[in-house]
């Protein structure tokens, strides 16, 4: 039972969010188990990105409650800092720091937020670069790497903080088709290690193979959610059927 809530690490209750007059989230209620891989899909403008950006307070929800790793997200600055240090995030545009080398990108927050010594941080960074398959790029600047390599550095940078949860906001949408695979492989490997993952993505192959649960957003609400086998084979909601027919037909 996916909502049986044995050990939920993210709990959202009736979350609402407005941008001016536009309501982006119209009451989202869901929870994520520890070690669960949740893929969020939906048409553009459906609020799926806003939803995961609310989980680490890059966007501020106005109504409802969000509890992450037992910490409630309120305007308490200390809670926000604690949650951000437990939650890693990977962006569509990578957002690497262009003035720092790959190594410095990965060590910066380790040294200043996690208070590790530089050599420990560098050791950890090297191990992660090995894991994402580009140890030889450590001394380069982000501008010298391909999109896929940059996104893998971004993943390593987040992992270096030892997060309990990883959020992916359309991590492959800005990549060339042949680079998508290398990023998805890293994500798949990560899912295999038991990391809790919430990913917004259009990669249905990834969703089908790796996800424990798929959540469909439309107009700021969750329309349907369920394990991939059920979700793809047996969609209950007509909106889901329409969305699936549009993305799977070609």
């Amino acid at each position: 039972m996916e909502n049986g809530a044995a050990n939920p690490i993210i709990v959202c209750e009736n979350v609402k969010k407005w941008f001016g007059d536009f309501q982006a989230l119209r009451g989202v209620t869901t929870s994520v188990e520890e070690g669960e891989v949740v893929v969020v899909i939906g048409p553009s403008g459906s609020g799926k990105s806003t939803f995961i950006r609310c989980i680490n307070r890059l966007e501020q929800h106005q109504e409802g409650r969000i509890v992450v790793a037992g910490i409630e997200l309120t305007s308490d600055v200390r809670n926000i800092e604690r949650i951000r240090s437990e939650v890693g995030m990977v962006f569509q545009q990578f957002n690497l720091f262009p003035h720092l080398t790959v190594m410095q990108n990965i060590t910066l927050a380790q040294v200043w937020v996690r208070k590790r010594s530089r050599s420990d941080a560098e050791e950890r960074a090297m191990a992660l670069l090995e894991r994402v398959g580009i140890p030889e790029q450590a001394a380069k600047y982000p501008g010298q790497l391909s999109g896929g390599q940059q996104q893998r550095v971004a993943i390593a940078r987040s992992l270096a903080m030892d997060p309990k949860i990883m959020l992916f906001d359309e991590p492959t949408s800005a990549l060339d088709p042949e680079m998508i695979k290398e990023v998805l492989e890293v994500m798949q490997e990560l899912a295999g290690t038991g990391m809790t993952i919430v990913a917004v993505t259009h990669e249905m192959g990834f969703a089908r193979e790796v996800a424990n649960r798929i959540v469909l957003f439309d107009e700021g609400q969750i329309v349907e959610e369920g394990p991939p086998s059920e979700f793809f084979a047996n969609p209950r909601h007509p909106r889901t059927r329409m969305f699936l027919s549009q993305i799977l037909s070609h």
Binding site: R84, F91, F97, H99, R118, Y141, G143
Partner: protein, 508 residues
């Protein structure tokens, strides 16, 4: 199969159709054309001046100018050179202190404009919009007017607003200041040693930090090393007076060697530089596979480098006067340094002077014991500083806004605090956008100091104008002005470009 070329090797075009040769010939041609045109114009101008009884001599630099300046090193200069020197130093005082102050104020206001604090951002907006929309001349006159008519009248017993530290009056604003004494240079030798040690300590501690991953506090070590030298030097500086002997020895030996020796050495150095350039150029074209094929362009460059080296050597050998001027200047500088040191000369290197009032005649004056800003200085300084600060604020704001929002989001998502994010992610990236226009503002500020003439502040333009009113040597004064402002501006440009290159992003 042998690697047979598909195409026959190309035929070399004749010289007059060779694109590279034509390019270089055109450049050399233009150079000679400009030189020829310039010499014709100058010759013509000189002939016309002679016909009108004007002369382009430089007596105005050595003759007593018979003028008096409002403030500065030589208030009653005995030569024109002293007058211009005073004007130049006054200009640099305003420009340098103005650049520092405008940068600090501009950065604070620029960041404040982006602040989420409503009051701070509105105040900053008012600051920028009012100051940048009023002509700088009006602002200079305004501050001068404020200082010379609305500040308190100077009385014999004036001491306020902070007695002994700050004195504000219509005759100037005077404050306490540590003035260098005659032993300052001796202490300065210790400070230089301190800086070198601090640099060394910083680097070694940094290397240790990187090797062992310990927190080695390199900044603190460097500061301690510097302070140790400064404190020891404060008491031990009479010993450093011995450095004077070194300068004396150097000055004497510079004077003792005949000019011909310098000429030969410098000419050889010139030849060597030309040769070294060619040598290094060839080295850079050489790969493990052997020497790369040189293009015609490469040959022209090497010929030019060689010609410059040989030409320099020829000029040095044919014109002993040029070398002689050089050695005289060096000898003078060495003797000047020699005077600043005297073995076992003691006394505090710095002495703090407090503002005070004296009554030399009928009216009270601010005595020279504190550091005093006259109303003229106050006017030009406040005017150019605040005016420029308003532009710098906009440049800083634009620079910060130029950093994509994703950078802050990534930083926050990693758990960085706002201050850390600003310091380590946003500002370094904003800086490279800020630098070039910031350099322009520094140049503007330096050149705007010439408005000092409006409030009788004796900077370069005011001094020059007074000089040519006295002597009628307009052309000479204008040439001095142009040379002066050009060299200051070029110096600022070179510095800014240097930092600009260092902060560029690496891509590909």
């Amino acid at each position: 199969m042998a690697n047979r070329p598909i195409l026959a090797s190309p035929k070399r075009p004749p010289l007059w159709r060779n694109a590279t040769f034509l390019k270089w010939a055109a450049q050399i041609g233009v150079l000679f054309g400009v030189l020829a045109l310039g010499s014709v114009l100058v010759g013509e101008a000189m002939a016309n001046m002679r016909a009108q009884g004007l002369s382009l001599d430089w007596d105005l630099l050595t003759d007593p100018p018979g003028i008096q300046l409002g403030e500065g090193i030589f208030i009653k200069p005995s030569t024109g050179l002293e007058a211009f020197y005073t004007g130049a130093v006054n200009m640099l005082r305003v420009a340098l202190s103005g650049i520092v102050a405008a940068t600090v104020v501009g950065a604070i206001v620029g960041i404040a404009r982006l602040s989420s604090n409503w009051l701070a951002s509105r105040l900053a907006t008012v600051f920028v919009e009012s100051l940048r929309n009023i002509p700088v001349l009006v602002q200079v006159v305004f501050w001068f007017f404020l200082a010379s008519t609305l500040f308190p009248v100077l009385e014999e017993d004036s001491s306020g607003p902070i007695p002994g530290v700050l004195l504000v009056s219509r005759k100037g604003v005077s404050f306490a200041w540590p003035f260098p004494q005659e032993t300052f240079w001796q202490w300065g030798a210790f400070l230089v040693a301190g800086l070198l040690t601090a640099r060394w300590a910083y680097r070694t501690r940094m290397r240790r930090a990187e090797a062992l991953g310990e927190a080695t506090r390199p900044g603190r070590w460097a500061l301690m090393a510097f302070l140790a030298w400064a404190i020891v030097g404060w008491f031990a500086h009479p010993l450093a007076g011995a450095i004077g002997w070194l300068f004396m020895l150097l000055a004497a030996s510079v004077g003792a060697i005949p000019v011909l020796v310098y000429q030969v050495v410098l000419a050889l150095a010139s030849l060597y530089l030309g040769w070294r350039w060619i040598h290094r150029f060839l080295e850079s074209r050489r790969s493990p596979a052997g020497l790369a094929k040189l293009t015609d362009d490469d040959y022209f460059r090497m010929i030019l480098a060689g010609a410059l080296g040989a030409g320099g050597a020829a000029v040095l050998m044919l014109l002993p006067a040029a070398t002689e001027v050089g050695t005289n200047v060096i000898q003078y500088l060495l003797e000047f340094c020699d005077q600043k040191f005297e073995f076992l000369r003691s006394g505090a290197p710095l002495a703090i002077g407090s503002p005070s009032v004296e009554v030399p005649g009928r009216f009270p004056q601010i005595a020279g014991t504190g550091l005093t800003m006259t109303p003229s200085f106050f006017g030009i300084w406040m005017g150019v500083t605040l005016y420029t600060a308003s532009f710098i604020a906009e440049i800083v704001r634009g620079g910060i806004l130029s950093v994509p929002k994703g950078q802050s989001e990534a930083g926050y998502a990693l758990g960085l605090r706002r201050g850390q994010l600003l310091r380590m992610v946003i500002l370094p990236q904003a800086f490279r956008v800020i630098l070039p226009p910031l350099g322009n503002q520094y140049l503007n500020l330096s050149k705007n100091t010439s408005l000092g003439i409006a409030v009788a502040f004796p900077e370069m333009v005011q001094v020059g104008q007074t000089m040519f009113n006295q002597t009628g040597d307009t052309i000479q004064v204008i040439l001095i002005w142009m040379a002066f402002y050009l060299s200051i501006s070029l110096l600022i440009s070179v510095l800014i470009n240097y930092y600009n290159r260092r902060t560029q992003l690496v891509e590909r």
